[in-house]
Symmetry: C2
Subunit: 262 residues, 2 copies
């Protein structure tokens, strides 16, 4: 351990701090930071740029055994804590290259299963939606430009690694997505509180896409109007709405249930 980075004004550390806190910096560099053992272990080799570990992490032999070949920098615990996004850092984070996906990748399957997110704001919700989508067998996630940044550190953590594997993209002209999908024989279902049809009454075994709206306001009228079908999740009691990640999960797993023939 000859070259331990001891200073938060080190050039690499300053760059890391920018990437942790600023979506703009992440976009400009085409990079993001993934933190923790799990996120490090699951990062695809070709996307891993560099690894940073804290001194006390590096001191343990079983930790060093986790490290892959290639650039590893050891930084003092104080510097690590300064650049970490968590209160109790695990002592490992890595710099990862952003991947671009094409819509074609998402439509490869015979019966694609997409998720369309309009202006989801909460980083934890967004990450949880990615995590759930992978488990439900979703083939891709398209997001409006107003959706939170998937590369936000909290979002990354909430995906539990799905961010590495789930094809996704931000679409500037989001209103046009349902029509484009229709041309590819993918039906769009808008989750809407005022829908007439119950979500369980639809057949999701063909190509399908669920439209999920913003946490506070739901889907915009303009986008809901583009969907093929509006569906509601009926609620008991005085509940007025569901958490966005919960609503998305219920819809995705109903589709999965139907698609698995259960």
């Amino acid at each position: 351990m000859e070259n331990i980075i001891n200073s938060t004004s080190n050039r690499q550390i300053r760059a890391l701090a920018q990437l942790q806190t600023k979506a703009k910096a992440r976009r400009a560099e085409g990079l993001f930071v993934a933190e923790g053992v799990r996120m490090y272990r699951e990062v695809p080799r070709e996307l891993l740029v560099k690894t940073y570990v804290s001194e006390s992490f590096y001191e343990k032999e079983q930790n060093r055994a986790l490290l892959r070949d290639g650039g590893v920098e050891v930084v003092s615990d104080r510097v690590f804590a300064a650049v970490s996004d968590t209160k109790t850092p695990q002592g490992i984070l890595c710099l990862v290259r952003q991947r671009q996906y094409s819509v074609e990748e998402m439509l490869q399957k015979e019966t694609p299963f997409l998720l369309l997110l309009e202006d989801i704001q909460d980083p934890g919700n967004l990450g949880t939606i990615f995590r759930t989508a992978e488990a439900a067998g979703v083939s891709g996630i398209l997001m409006s430009a107003g959706t939170a940044d998937i590369y936000n550190p909290k979002t990354i953590r909430s995906t539990m690694g799905a961010v590495y594997r789930m094809p996704f993209g931000y679409v500037p002209d989001f209103l046009s997505v349902p029509e484009k999908l229709r041309q590819r024989r993918v039906r769009t279902y808008a989750a809407h509180l005022n829908a007439k049809s119950e979500y369980t009454a639809q057949d999701y075994r063909t190509g399908c896409a669920f439209l999920i709206g913003n946490e506070g306001n739901g889907l915009s009228d303009a986008l809901a109007a583009q969907a093929d079908v509006r569906v509601k999740i009926s609620m008991e009691g005085q509940a007025e709405s569901l958490n966005a990640a919960v609503a998305a999960a219920i819809l995705m797993f109903e589709a999965k249930r139907q698609r698995s023939g259960a």
Copy 2:
């Protein structure tokens, strides 16, 4: 507005701050703090002890129209910000009496539908589970002693008012719950990654209870062994688990789907 509270060392304000931050204080007093317009509007009259509003909240006529009869204290914006749990306070919070529910209340229905939570730790997850449970028609939630405090301010907010309406209780001898429910003809289904039976293959139209485990570790073996049936939610891709609130939502809404005859 003669008697505006201007000091954070005011006795009432100090007591409020204790209730916001300390589960022990909430338990000792049998009180909790509910913050925001929505939580104020939905608090049952008989549980409302006192209301606190910020000066700038009180200045607006439409805000004053929201206030109910009874004790309302106006506090300076600075004091309100100090006692608020949120970064951008709405300017209204209230002191609410805790309610005790009996298990009998939860078992009144012919086919009770319960949720059993073991050691759920994340306040947001716990609140979201309450919110989702109300929407799914759950009749009561029983929690292990190691579960997070439902009266944590973040949890309260995440319930979106369900905390006022959902019967719940903490059960010290949690391991004995499945057997007690069995005697009441309520079957317990443990959500478990290693279960053989798919959750969609079970019939939830009779009395049923879902056992949901801790975020990191899942259900304890001891508790899982007490369940009548273990069920899994099969996952695609490399997903290893689901967020606890998401898993609970998928199970509850599958039960709701079956119970509604869809």
